[in-house]
């Protein structure tokens, strides 16, 4: 297990280094001079020169990369050009919305997908199974931002159960804040729950057709006992991988939904920073999100090897 973990840790570090190089190149090299890109076409030469100085752009590319990385390692993500405050602070402010939103959406996803997937698999070919499969097909096909708009129309504008957008802050009370995140979380969970239910179903069907399930049944276990004692645990392995991927997706992929509901989360921060050409925020936040995705995948891999010892030997 130790050898496997170290090997995975090595590839994690390489991935992080390459990812940082790609992001650095995209932001600092591709648009030409970052300072004139940030200030737009009407900027005066002396303003550009001042900003170049402020951003440390007169140093060589190599020095800039090293100072960016060492800053990141010490928790200094630079200073935002538009907000005029440290990026670390802005990110922390946004994370208290994005992280709970991702966890909320993932909880809804799992709560819906597990029972639905198990129900469909245990009644394979029945009307229940066919309706579940039809519903999940539809869930995958619906653009979540469109679904979000319809929910706003029905639950916020017509029924007035929820507000149409915005976030009151956690100071307004736990339930008030949670209520503001409910519609966005449902919108995010819809396609994810559909995907997870399908994975759950097909994984359980695979497991149920294994010989050891037949043996368990031959030894006198009822269908239900075989399912709960043997099949479910083994069927969970691919499901866990998908959950890991979905969590990182929900953290980084909520940009559009945050826009629909005007939620000041991380995704919206990146989006605003892009439109305001605040490259320092874009660079640092994208790197943070990629870091989160890579680390979550790494943890999922470790959990995977821990659950299933066969995977360790294959590594």
């Amino acid at each position: 297990m130790l050898r496997y973990s170290l090997k995975r840790l090595g590839s994690l570090l390489i991935s992080l280094i390459v990812a940082s190089l790609v992001i650095f190149a995209c932001i600092e090299v591709v648009p030409g001079d970052p300072a004139s890109f940030m200030l737009g076409i009407n900027a005066q030469p002396d303003t550009i020169a001042a900003l170049r100085d402020e951003l440390g752009l007169n140093a060589s590319i190599y020095e800039r990369y090293v100072s960016w990385i060492s800053g990141m390692l010490t928790g200094d993500l630079g200073t935002s050009y538009t907000y005029r405050s440290p990026v670390t602070e802005i990110v922390a402010e946004r994370l208290v919305i994005s992280l709970p939103l991702a966890i909320y959406a993932l909880t809804l996803t799992v709560l819906v997908a597990f029972p639905v997937g198990v129900l469909a698999a245990t009644r394979q070919g029945s009307k229940t199974d066919i309706s579940v499969m039809g519903a999940t097909q539809l869930g995958v096909a619906i653009p979540n931002f469109w679904f979000a708009m319809l929910m706003v129309l029905v639950f916020a504008i017509n029924l007035r159960w929820f507000s149409a957008g915005g976030f009151p802050g956690w100071d307004a009370g736990f339930f008030a804040a949670l209520k503001a995140l409910t519609l966005p979380a449902i919108a995010l969970a819809l396609p994810q729950a559909s995907i997870l239910a399908r994975v759950m179903r097909s994984s359980l069907l695979d497991t149920l057709s294994e010989d050891y399930i037949r043996t368990a049944r031959a030894k006198g276990l009822s269908k239900r006992q075989a399912l709960w004692r043997h099949a479910l645990r083994n069927a969970l392995i691919p499901v866990l991988t998908i959950i890991g991927l979905q969590f990182s997706f929900l953290l980084a992929g909520a940009i559009i939904i945050e826009n629909v509901f005007f939620l000041p989360g991380l995704g919206r921060l990146v989006f605003q920073a892009i439109s305001q050409r605040d490259l320092i925020v874009v660079e640092s936040v994208v790197m943070l999100l990629v870091f989160a995705v890579i680390v979550v995948n790494f943890l999922v891999d470790l959990a995977y090897a821990w659950v299933d010892p066969r995977l360790r030997s294959h590594a």
Binding site: S11, I14, S15, V18, A19, V22, C26, I27, V30, P31, Q124, G125, Q137, L138, V140, A141, I142, P143, F145, W146, M149, L150, V152, L153, I157, N158, R201, S202, L205, D206, S209, S248, F249, A252, G253, I255, I256, N259, V260, G267, V270, F271, I274, S275, V282, V286, L289, V290, V293, I294, N297
Partner: protein, 270 residues
């Protein structure tokens, strides 16, 4: 089989709408007619009109062009780069090259796709071409991984061994023997990536980073409808239905084709 027929029919409806819109639409989508703005669906305007008085049916027809073109080209980019990389990695399996190609793929997977697509279109400017590139890049590792996985198992087959004995090189075996045998998988994955491309294009256009006005696109139409949704819900409903039906059609066709190509799956009923 039923899935394929329903799926292909749905897809064909929109493909046909896109083709017809090249020569004819019920109304001119570039013509603004403020006097007939926000009209509900009627005999003249089947899907109603938008806030500029443009006919929504005509806009959906022209929007189909954009959606389909962006998604198809993105799939072509994904296959064009991904399949050769996958074949190459499988031919040199276990080598440093294989490792580099596969780790490179893992890396692209690690990037949150929509975020990077937004970053690309932001740095290079919003346009259809940049949307295609942004979506296409994320198709490459999907096809590379799929091709490599399928090709690896083929390389151990006896007929590949006999091809090698007869003196064929790795490149020639990959093209003549491996590629035709992984084609089924590629077609199935192609339809799935096609549908994901439609959704991604809609999302990019929705945030204003896809096709630029006045060219209609489904995502842009949804963005326009957002502030008017309580006043004119039809503006949001019809483009939404267009996206859902196209994506549903492609997914059904993909599922059906997979079952058709791999009868084992049909038995299990996945």
């Amino acid at each position: 089989m039923r899935n394929i027929i329903v799926g292909l029919c749905l897809t064909m409806v929109f493909a046909l709408a896109a083709l017809v819109s090249l020569v004819w639409t019920p109304f001119d989508v570039t013509q603004l007619d403020i006097s007939s703005k926000l009209q509900k669906p009627s005999a003249t305007h089947w899907f109603g009109t938008d806030h500029f008085g443009r006919d929504i049916l005509s806009m959906i027809m022209v929007g189909a062009q954009t959606s389909i073109a962006v998604a198809v080209v993105a799939v072509v980019i994904g296959m064009g780069f991904g399949v050769p990389l996958g074949l190459w990695a499988a031919a040199k399996r276990g080598s440093l090259l294989d490792e580099v190609i596969m780790r490179g793929n893992d890396l692209v997977f690690a990037f949150p796709s929509l975020l990077i697509a937004i970053m690309i279109t932001a740095v290079f400017g919003p346009s259809a071409i940049n949307a295609i590139i942004a979506i296409g890049i994320f198709n490459i590792p999907v096809f590379a991984r799929l091709t490599r996985g399928a090709a690896l198992s083929l390389w151990t087959r006896d007929y590949i061994l006999s091809a090698r004995v007869s003196g064929k090189g790795a490149a020639r075996i990959s093209v003549e023997h491996i590629l035709p045998n992984v084609m089924n998988l590629l077609i199935v994955q192609g339809t799935i990536q096609f549908s994901l491309g439609i959704l991604a294009e809609a999302a990019l256009s929705y945030v204003g980073l896809g096709v630029q006005p006045p060219t209609p696109s489904w995502g842009r139409m949804l963005a326009d409808s957002q502030t008017l949704i309580s006043l004119a819900p039809h503006m949001a409903l019809f483009p939404g239905f267009a996206i859902i039906l196209t994506v549903l059609g492609l997914n059904l066709a993909g599922d059906g084709l997979r079952d058709l190509f791999d009868p084992r799956l049909r038995r299990v009923g996945r």
